[in-house]
């Protein structure tokens, strides 16, 4: 029954897409379309979370490959991810009811937005390789169309090229992976693949590599992440939120589905690529985020960081599962899914905030913002909440998942393999490093954009955003708070998935007094967000009370003190790049080559001194530039054959003929 409802509403989403084409010219179109999307997403969400028996529901249609058909399956994992996708979808639609009103060319967005939602849902439901890949590419294509919505900007066009190329690369990789899994007989349905006996370990290793390439390129795993910071900012903000907050999660779903489910029992070394890549991704992602001045680019890079964290957790789960340590495996797996959920919440919220700022000021560059906390206080508050959450600070939800990951790491000394013994601590340090850098990054983002004084007239004239957007954002923040204060319920909802995919799960959290969570045992570690939160609130009020009793309440406004220097005007504020400079200097060169140019005119010269920073992305320079060069070179060399004389062409044919005849002549 839930599956039927789900499929019907997905069909309805496609219908809404068609409606979008029809209504495109109409003024009220956007409200109608987004409203419908909101309703359908809510239905899908409910259908996903409504309690069911543990057995998976399946359905199949005579579509796709004729002799296989299209299979759909709703099991615990897909239900969890469906909930995430449609929660994000609902939030984005609600936000877009208000946000979409500012869109210049709705006709380039309305048809694709519902289709994009439908595509993501289909990926999660697909139960055979063909349907999976079709849905996967469907998702990529529709989001690509959305990225190309503002196509007059050359930067966006470039983003479109890079995005779709990387997406197709990923699809090709997944396609080969499925080819290996299905074997030459072509048993493409996941059921067949599960039943199939799995070949030698090199084969499964190859599949793992291909899946890392395929899912990783979609999720933004280093070094396949380059499209992400280009494409996510290019799209309209509610779409960026979906791409960053939700689509990357779909990619992670793909990874889990193939590696934990289809690929059979893991071997311990499978865990090493995800662990290593995850750690590297987290570090590079957050370091690059810290130096961005484009708010949406910054958010995109931070998405990359979070993806890295998730992959680390999944790698741990693999390692534990391979060694038959059910309980730790369950812990790591739960941590991964928990973080997936959290990130989908606060990343969407952050992009919504960025979109609100973009609408209010027309600026994405934080260097030209500032003081927005005065002009759009509600947005500022919600954005701040999301910043706290993503910086993994208690008592919000980001901390809980990161805490669980650390707990899982603390269990890993009992892993027998030496390689893992050496790898895991390093990964743990990388995680800690990225977490603290993340805090710095978001202090910078919020502090420069929302605090201080307005750096441009655009920022001065900003207005608070509309109620639709605010309600969407508040809803998300509320969920962040809930997930942070009483995580036990969420953990218990993940439990069945963990049981099904890694064989173990955390102890049931429901019964524990005071709603606190206990990963393994009370004596090892426990955390109670609610209590900590209440404590802080209580003691804050207590302190305020004491001060009120003992001290004076007198206060007056005056010019800023600033060590007695007269107010030097807004330009003298600390800028984003100067804020990032210490980190750029100390850690930056891990991720990129940053060179500072200081041009100091000689004494007596009245020119202003100039300071500039040029930043080279190591990944881009190291991996992609050579590839592009090679392709261009080959194209250039081969292109000469286009200008031969007819003799030249005849010569080619002649040579081929003679060569083949020689082969025939010497053939035994």
């Amino acid at each position: 029954m839930p599956l039927t409802v789900t499929l019907w509403s997905i069909g309805a989403l496609l219908g809404v897409g068609a409606l979008g084409i029809a209504l495109a010219s109409n003024a009220a179109a956007s409200r109608v379309v987004y409203g419908l999307c909101f309703g359908l997403s809510i239905i899908l969400f409910v259908a996903a979370v409504v309690p069911r028996s543990a057995v998976a529901l399946t359905a199949s249609f005579p579509l796709g490959l004729p002799w296989i058909g299209a299979h759909f399956r709703l099991d615990v994992l897909s239900a969890f991810f469906l909930a995430i996708v449609n929660l994000g979808g609902a939030a984005a639609s609600l936000y877009a009811i208000g946000y979409g009103a500012h869109e210049k060319h709705p006709s380039r967005i309305l048809p694709f937005f519902p289709v994009f939602l439908a595509g993501m849902n289909l990926v999660i439901l697909a139960d055979d390789a063909f349907a999976f890949l079709v849905a996967w590419e469907f998702m990529s294509l529709s989001s690509w169309a959305l990225v190309m919505a503002h196509h007059h900007d050359a930067e966006n066009r470039r983003a479109g090229v890079v995005y779709l190329l990387m997406a197709s690369f990923g699809t090709a990789a997944l396609l080969m992976a499925f080819g290996l899994l299905a074997g030459s007989v072509g048993g493409y349905s996941f059921a067949d693949i599960r039943d199939a006996t799995h070949g030698p370990s090199w084969k499964s290793g190859l599949v793992l590599a291909l899946v890392l390439l395929g899912a990783g390129s979609k999720a933004g795993l280093v070094p396949l992440h380059i499209w992400l910071p280009l494409a996510h900012p290019a799209a309209p903000s509610h779409v960026s939120a979906l791409m960053s907050g939700v689509m990357t999660k779909v990619a992670i779903y793909g990874f889990i589905r193939i590696v934990f489910d289809l690929l059979g029992p893991p071997e311990f070394w499978w865990s090493m690529p995800p662990l290593t890549l995850g750690a590297i991704t987290a570090m590079l992602g957050i370091l690059s985020a810290t130096i961005q001045s484009d708010l949406k680019k910054l958010l995109a890079y931070s998405t990359i960081e979070n993806i890295g964290i998730v992959f680390v957790a999944l790698g741990l789960a693999l390692a534990f599962k391979a060694n038959g340590m059910a309980l730790p495996a369950g812990l790591a797996f739960t941590a991964a899914l928990f973080h997936v959920f959290n990130h989908s919440l606060f990343k969407s919220l952050l992009f919504f905030g960025a979109g609100a700022v973009l609408n209010a000021t027309g600026e994405r560059d934080i260097e030209r913002l500032g003081g927005l906390i005065h002009f759009m206080p509600r947005t500022a508050f919600l954005f701040l909440g999301a910043c706290v959450a993503i910086s993994a600070l208690p008592p919000l939800n980001g901390f809980v998942s990161e805490w669980l990951v650390f707990q899982a790491i603390l269990l890993s000394p009992s892993l027998p393999q030496w390689s893992l013994k050496l790898l895991v601590p390093a990964v743990g340090v990388a995680l800690a490093l990225s977490a603290s850098l993340c805090a710095g990054c978001f202090v910078r983002a919020f502090g420069i954009a929302f605090l201080g004084r307005a750096r441009s007239t655009a920022a001065k004239s900003a207005q608070e955003t509309d109620l639709w957007s605010l309600s969407a954002m508040s809803g998300l923040l509320g969920l962040c708070l809930l997930a942070g204060l009483i995580p036990s319920y969420l953990i218990d909802t993940i439990t069945p998935a963990a049981k099904a995919f890694v064989g173990g799960h955390m102890p049931t959290q429901g019964g524990i007094p005071w709603l606190s969570i206990v990963p393994i045992a009370e004596s090892r570690s426990s955390y109670n967000g609610l209590l900590v939160f209440l404590f802080i609130v209580f003691s804050a009020f207590f302190a305020a009370l004491i001060v009120r009793v003992l001290g004076s309440n007198a206060s007056r406004r005056g010019p800023a003190w600033g060590c007695g220097y007269p107010d030097p005007g807004t330009a003298a504020q600390y800028t984003g790049s100067s804020f990032a400079q210490p980190i750029r200097r100390t850690l930056g060169n891990v991720a990129f080559v940053a060179r500072d140019h200081l041009e100091m005119p000689p004494p007596g010269d009245t020119r202003p001194a100039r300071f500039g920073v040029e930043i080279h992305d190591r990944v881009w320079d190291g991996v992609y530039t050579p590839i592009l060069r090679a392709v261009d070179f080959c194209a250039g060399q081969l292109d000469r054959t286009h200008f031969l004389t007819i003799q030249g062409y005849l010569g080619l044919v002649f040579a081929t003929l003679v060569a083949l005849l020689l082969v025939i002549a010497i053939w035994p």
């Binding site: 890993s412 601590p425 805090a439 202090v443 605090l451 209590l531 800023a560 504020q573 980190i583």
Partner: protein, 317 residues
Amino acid sequence: MALIYDLAAQSTQMILVLSLAPLLLGFTRKVKARLLRRRGPSIFQPYRDLLRLMRKEVVLADNASWLFRSAPYLIFAATWVAAALVPTFATGLMFSWSADLIVITALLGSVRFVLALAGMDVGTSFGGIGSSREMMFASLAEPAMITIVFVVALIAGSTQLSEIAFHMLSHVELRVSYGLALIGLVIVAIAENGRIPVDNPATHLELTMVHEAMVLEYSGRHLAVIELAAALKLLLYVSLIACIFAPWGLAPHGADLRAMTFGAAAYVAKVAVGGFLLAFFEISTAKMRVFRVPDFLGAALMLGLLGTLLRFVSGSF
């Protein structure tokens, strides 16, 4: 009955740390002065300062926002809670299980987060400089702290401070990783509290200052609360070191009043020693340039990592 007893013990600890914090500050200053052959202010001077600040009116910068005004209380509250969760005279207090060592670290992280934002709120160049440097130091100090937590947790098999203290008490043994963790923790403590050689709490108009730069715009009661929070933080780290590496005299869970008073006495003694050592260290070193600090903290990080690796490679639990 037992509940009330536990509650009492817990609240005693909260009051204790709150009242002891300024004293530690004053004591350290006094010792420093003495070591420098000065008389120095009385060790109760910090209390007086706090009271005077509270009575003064607050001068808010023109574009200070609600964040600026609420930040001090948040900072104070979070620090206080964190400090109250570290066993001082007794382990296994009522709420100690509601947060483990990682949570305490993270709570301090939130404090820093709010403080850095408050520093940027008014929009002067000093606040920004302070925040940016604070975050840079934190970006190394926090992972260092986490690695130290790893070491300790891997030794004790738990991240619960009470459990750790208990474990340390029960099997006293010398391990290399202890030493590494201790040194690392001391370095982190110095950096986090902005003491010499990382920062100089006694100066105000110096462009290398960090913590003082962030709170530059604060005045009156706000400043008072922040200063108190800073004092609490210092005490927290001292008692943390004491609880992990010198857990002697800690009263076990549900101990009677005598044990507790004994524990309290022992605690005060430990704090005094800590304060003395701190003062001695501070007068014997000079402040370092800002961009040398990362190396200083990096050392802590490396020590922590080394310890963790040792623990991973040698025994499992």
